[in-house]
């Protein structure tokens, strides 16, 4: 007799070799709790290609196909096609790829799978840089961030352009369901995965996954940072469900400074630069609110 707010069953084992406080492992844990054991996962080159440990170690209680960096969209399409041909339309096929493997090198393959309408779930665990190779910038790295390839230096070359929004690219594909999730809101996370499971066709889930190693933050603060990302509206939680935007929560706004401050990757930012990020964040939030209003009126 214990009332848990998320399923008790575990499909991820202890003893994996992720860094301390890894958000991507929490993401996988919740994902599989929601999906259950009738799932096949495909993982490209990314942190998660290493996290299960070296051969013969495995850390998932479901079958896993490792694949090349840019192939997740095609890989899950292939698994789905084979299962369907074998008469198995029940098993959930899920791709689990990092932001580099999704926003950059794997974008084409993902776009193809979504455009074709493959009945799969694609999870982008977004730790906002190439963390497995040592913190290089990806197109999902936010503006102002330090990475090893946006090292600042005397020319102050941090990441200049804002984070590419993959979820909005997915929405532009006329996808039936897309959502943003993060590890600090497990109940919301699981609810969205369950919703995705109900829908036949491609589903896209973008999970903000704090990376203490790459974000230069305290591992203990990983979940807290994810919470601050939502509260500061830097990473709003929302769904796009059959045309309608739905913002999952509209918490009292926390200044972006509170989110940026605990992260070493933003240490160099000046007050002025933080103000610019605040303005951009507020604008994006207004746009999101407008989309929610517009689409809900349109598809009343």
């Amino acid at each position: 007799m214990v009332k848990l707010t998320i399923p008790e069953e575990e499909y991820m084992l202890p003893g994996h070799v992720a860094c301390q406080g890894c958000g991507a492992t929490i993401a996988m844990r919740y994902l599989l709790k929601a999906l259950g054991g009738k799932t096949i996962v495909s993982i490209p080159a990314c942190c998660w290609a290493v996290i299960p440990g070296v051969y013969p170690s495995r850390t998932l209680e479901v079958p896993l196909l490792y694949t090349a960096f840019e192939t997740t969209g095609a890989s899950i399409s292939g698994i789905r096609a084979a299962l369907d041909m074998m008469g198995d339309t029940e098993t959930t096929v899920v791709g689990f790829a990092g932001d580099g493997g999704t926003a950059d090198i794997g974008l084409q393959s993902l776009s193809g799978a979504v455009e074709r309408g493959e009945n799969v779930i694609y999870v982008m665990y977004d730790n906002e840089a190439y963390m497995n190779t040592g913190i290089q910038r990806s197109s999902s790295t936010p503006a102002g961030a330090w990475t090893t390839t946006t090292p600042g230096g005397s020319k102050k070359e941090w990441k200049k352009r804002p984070k590419k929004s993959v979820i909005e690219i997915m929405i532009a594909h006329d996808i039936q369901y897309a959502a943003t999730l993060t590890v600090s809101y497990p109940e919301d996370f699981i609810k969205k995965v369950k919703r995705a499971m109900e829908i036949k066709g491609p589903k896209f889930l973008q999970v903000l996954s704090p990376c203490p190693t790459g974000w230069k933050s305290d591992p203990a603060k990983a979940v807290e940072l994810a919470r601050l990302a939502v509260q500061s509206r830097v990473f709003p939680l929302y769904e796009f469900d059959h045309g309608k935007y739905k913002i999952s929560m509209k918490p009292k706004q926390v200044p972006v400074r509170e989110y940026l401050k605990p992260q070493g990757r933003f240490r160099h930012l000046t007050d002025e630069e933080i103000e610019t990020i605040q303005m951009h964040t507020d604008e994006q939030w207004e746009i999101l609110l407008a989309k929610e209003k517009f689409t809900n009126e349109l598809y009343k």
């Binding site: 079958p63 292939g78 698994i79 084979a82």
Partner: protein, 392 residues
């Protein structure tokens, strides 16, 4: 059995249909397109019970085949030239993952300069990917090789490629025996994967391996490739018993008493055989050894022919950039530690679809006889080069 006049691509599409792949993933490229158009129609008509994934690139085509095959079904794809080059990473993956995927490549030159015409550069460049490579010489062989390739691939758990020449075969009509489905089924039983992704069996396929474990997995690929050499011979014989057309690693033509033998792959071999007949009419003992299986390499067959020949010429329709053509260096490599001691001369010809006429081949044979008597003056020679010398 039905006899039909069809193109090489039609033959390949029929070969694929008869092998009953459950998943096809392909992307169009000239001159492969008519293969996948035909398959798309067969799937749409219900003639072939398969899912055709119309992917957005060749890279994704092979990635989808890998995933589907690893899930437990037979898969097929086809490509050509730049498409095959784009697949390169996944070709490596397919063999490393030990998946018996079968594909057709329509041999086409690489750019630049842009060219859609035949040469073997695209597939030769994939020599080291761990794929079995069959070079076919007729439309009949294109059809047969796909069926045969599945059987070989599934026996040794390596992927296999059937390779036909652009236009010369792909878009040219020939009379082809199309076997009955029942006969094919008796020869090629349904696919039984040795391992697969299966709910309830948590395993990670293709995981990270440390240096102390890596080499052994590569060694197993090498063992399988060596095993494939015998499997191709056995399955080729069995194919002959079932369908009346026997295939080996090579096809020998009048090599028994030949003084000079031209080693050659692809459809141009049939022209070379005609030229051999012409030479023989003039009392010149020439022969042809057509390489059907380039990977695994038929070194034993080459050594056997080399034992009695006086000179070997190797015809390469590609260039490796450094020292002649790949088949040329491979033939020399096969002979070095053998009993044979004879000169080998490498001819580079027919790049980018340059016509290889009987006249060109005749000059090559004549040059081989000259070299046999007067010594090899130039180890690697570009045939038909418009360099103003008028040599060819």
């Amino acid at each position: 059995m039905v006899k039909k006049v069809i193109t090489g691509n039609g033959a390949s599409a029929n070969g694929a249909r008869l092998a009953k792949p459950k998943v096809i993933a392909a992307y169009p490229i000239t001159p492969q397109t008519s293969i996948i158009e035909k398959l798309a129609l067969m799937v749409s008509n219900g003639e072939l019970d398969a899912k055709f994934i119309k992917v957005e690139s060749e890279h994704s085509a092979m990635a989808a085949c890998i995933a589907a095959q690893n899930t437990g079904v037979r898969t097929y794809t086809a490509s050509s030239s730049h498409g095959l080059a784009l697949m390169h990473e996944l070709l490596m993956w397919a063999s490393g993952a030990r998946l018996p995927i079968v594909m057709t490549d329509v041999n086409r030159a690489m750019g630049p300069p842009w060219s859609i015409w035949a040469d073997q550069q695209d597939t030769i460049a994939q020599r080291d990917t761990g794929w079995i490579q069959f070079y076919v010489a007729s439309n009949q062989e294109a059809l047969d090789t796909i069926i045969l390739a599945y059987k070989v691939a599934e026996t040794v758990n390596l992927p296999a490629m059937s390779i036909e020449d652009a236009f010369i075969l792909s878009h040219t009509m020939e009379s082809v025996d199309i076997p009955e489905q029942e006969t094919v089924d008796s020869f090629l039983p349904p696919y039984e994967p040795k391992f697969r992704l299966k709910v309830g069996e948590p395993m990670g396929f293709g995981s990270l391996v440390m240096p102390e474990g890596y080499m052994e997995f590569r060694y197993k690929i090498s063992e399988a490739m060596d095993e494939a050499r015998n499997v191709i011979r056995t399955v080729g014989k069995e194919f002959g018993e079932t369908f009346g057309r026997k295939y080996g690693l090579v096809e020998e033509y009048k090599t028994d008493d030949a003084e000079v033998v031209l080693v050659i792959a692809g459809s141009v071999a049939s022209t070379a055989m005609e030229v051999v007949d012409m030479m023989r009419d003039e009392g010149k003992k020439a022969g042809v050894l057509r390489i059907r299986s380039f990977r695994p390499f038929p070194y034993e067959e080459i050594r056997k022919v080399a034992k009695q020949a006086g000179l070997i010429g190797v015809f390469d329709r590609s260039y490796t950039g450094g020292f002649g053509g790949a088949i040329g260096t491979e033939v020399k490599g096969a002979l070095y530690n053998s009993d044979a001691s004879l000169p080998v001369k490498n001819y580079i010809a027919g790049l980018g679809g340059r016509d290889i006429t009987p006249k060109v081949l005749r000059k090559i044979f004549e040059d081989m006889f000259e070299s046999l008597n007067g010594g090899v003056k130039k180890e690697v020679e570009w045939v038909g080069l418009r360099d103003g010398s008028g040599r060819w």
